[in-house]
Symmetry: C2
Subunit: 344 residues, 2 copies
Amino acid sequence: MPELRKDSILDRWVIISTDRAKRPSDYATEPVVIKGGSSCPFCTGNESKTPPEITALRPDGSRPDTPGWAVRVVPNKFPALQPDGNAERTGDGLFVRVDGVGAHEVIIESPDHQASLAQLPEKRIEDVLTVFRDRMVDLKNDPRFKYVLIFKNYGLDAGASLEHSHTQLIALPLVPKQVREELDAARDYHRRHQRCVFCDIIRQEKQTQARVVSEDEHFLTVAPYAPRFPFETWILPKQHGAFFEDAAAGAYLHLARALKQLLLRADQLLDRPPYNFFLHTSAMREETELYYHWHIEYMPKLTRMAGFEWGTGFYINATPPEESARALRELELRAAPAPANPGS
Amino acid sequence: MPELRKDSILDRWVIISTDRAKRPSDYATEPVVIKGGSSCPFCTGNESKTPPEITALRPDGSRPDTPGWAVRVVPNKFPALQPDGNAERTGDGLFVRVDGVGAHEVIIESPDHQASLAQLPEKRIEDVLTVFRDRMVDLKNDPRFKYVLIFKNYGLDAGASLEHSHTQLIALPLVPKQVREELDAARDYHRRHQRCVFCDIIRQEKQTQARVVSEDEHFLTVAPYAPRFPFETWILPKQHGAFFEDAAAGAYLHLARALKQLLLRADQLLDRPPYNFFLHTSAMREETELYYHWHIEYMPKLTRMAGFEWGTGFYINATPPEESARALRELELRAAPAPANPGS
């Protein structure tokens, strides 16, 4: 019997096919292959091919827009939003619009064209996460922005137009629908129960263990009860906190460890699938500390959205999260292949 | 300057790139090609390859599950939901589930494997729409069902697993999120203005004409102000009504004409793109007559969803609706190619 499950936070339902559960090999996706190419604007030595850098980690103290960096942040060359203008709403009868004011940046995760995020050493992933934090703290100073979304598209089928490993950041003049719904639902839950819904999820998932992929002292990696997509997995910090950028010292190294583990496991189990992940943190300058709880949502791109999903806002998922979590959890991780050029 | 536009009904925003508007030829999609194959379970003569038919239009009075039909409805062989069981909510701590009770049916639009819906004569499309109505009226008798979604996936990239032209129907034990949000927003609008928001949209779009694709006495075909996808287009009945199945006599023929026009135009302009459309009608047995307004939403599959869309619930659309409507409107329609086997 299939099951309709409600997301534990949002009013979003998924149909889980429990009878004919699809296993990893039932999803036919092309593994992401890095082809390389000397003209990549994200490669070290090609710094002049991007707009001037916004910031970079430069352990060797080198000058901006020259080699020597470990992580580099540049404006997106084809930005979805523009930095100039104001964010006032204007109307035209029924219709409401805002100038497309915002920031659209690219975080280049490594100078090495071949290395995927999963293959970077934990310390380097920590660097990337720390740069996320720094950019958020900086963009918070601009009162026009209400939200910063950090998201990653990996592989062409997941929307990446360049293969050199990178994450994107968009600062928005309004709070996204998805985040607003999470914030509202978490606030309502807190009003009723005087507890954080994410903390309660962590407690319940730890008890049953059925959907846990991995766990350490600091992070729980878990398939959500009602995943939109097969093998969708969330990383939740055990330490309650609404704002990613306010996480405790050391948190980013622990998160780097959890994220690397998840990416390596998914890469091995699903044969380097294209994927997306995004970071959900609180809306800026809102009093959400009591009830919101930042986290990462990871989703490999194994299926297509179709008419049912567009028409309903519901999802059909042929792999129950108990199955996806078990497969990811029980996997014996092979040693990761060394990046092509580990010195870079 | 890009623009952020709010959907005129929902709290859903899109980023419209107004500077570098993408034209039809900028989207690289493979045209849908019908390959054919004698083993197709939807072809006439292969009636035994589907589960027994639920209903069919049989102008020649032939027996069920034999040739002679014009439109045939069968249960989906791999249903997302099952007809047996009850629709009670059960809980497990934080988690809420319902047995996956529902109906999942396939409406085979023509016995001819080669004919797409766009290529059928208007009268045949009217038959298909009349069958949609009949199925809705029938399923309404089952008190477990709260909503019937009719949707079409055309082409592999839009989620169709069989190429023989068909539409799907899913009856659900709860009202989908997307529909609930539309119903709530339309109700709130009506409370404030004592008018239907869809009727107001029709009025305003007719005034400006900027997003109108085509129009006749009965239907307005229009690009929405804040389309999620390039070339997204809606068909709105000018006659107010919440329930598709209660439309006036003759409405389905007029709708058939509007739908055929839109599909032919999009097929020619975008080179037979994969597409989805769905029918939004009121939730069953709700008092929505004053404020809801049934309609069809059509979206060719030209782009991919990625991390930004998943993380925000917002969309980035590189073709302003004024451009997509103009291109569809100004197109000179070639005579449609005759279906391979027009007699069938």
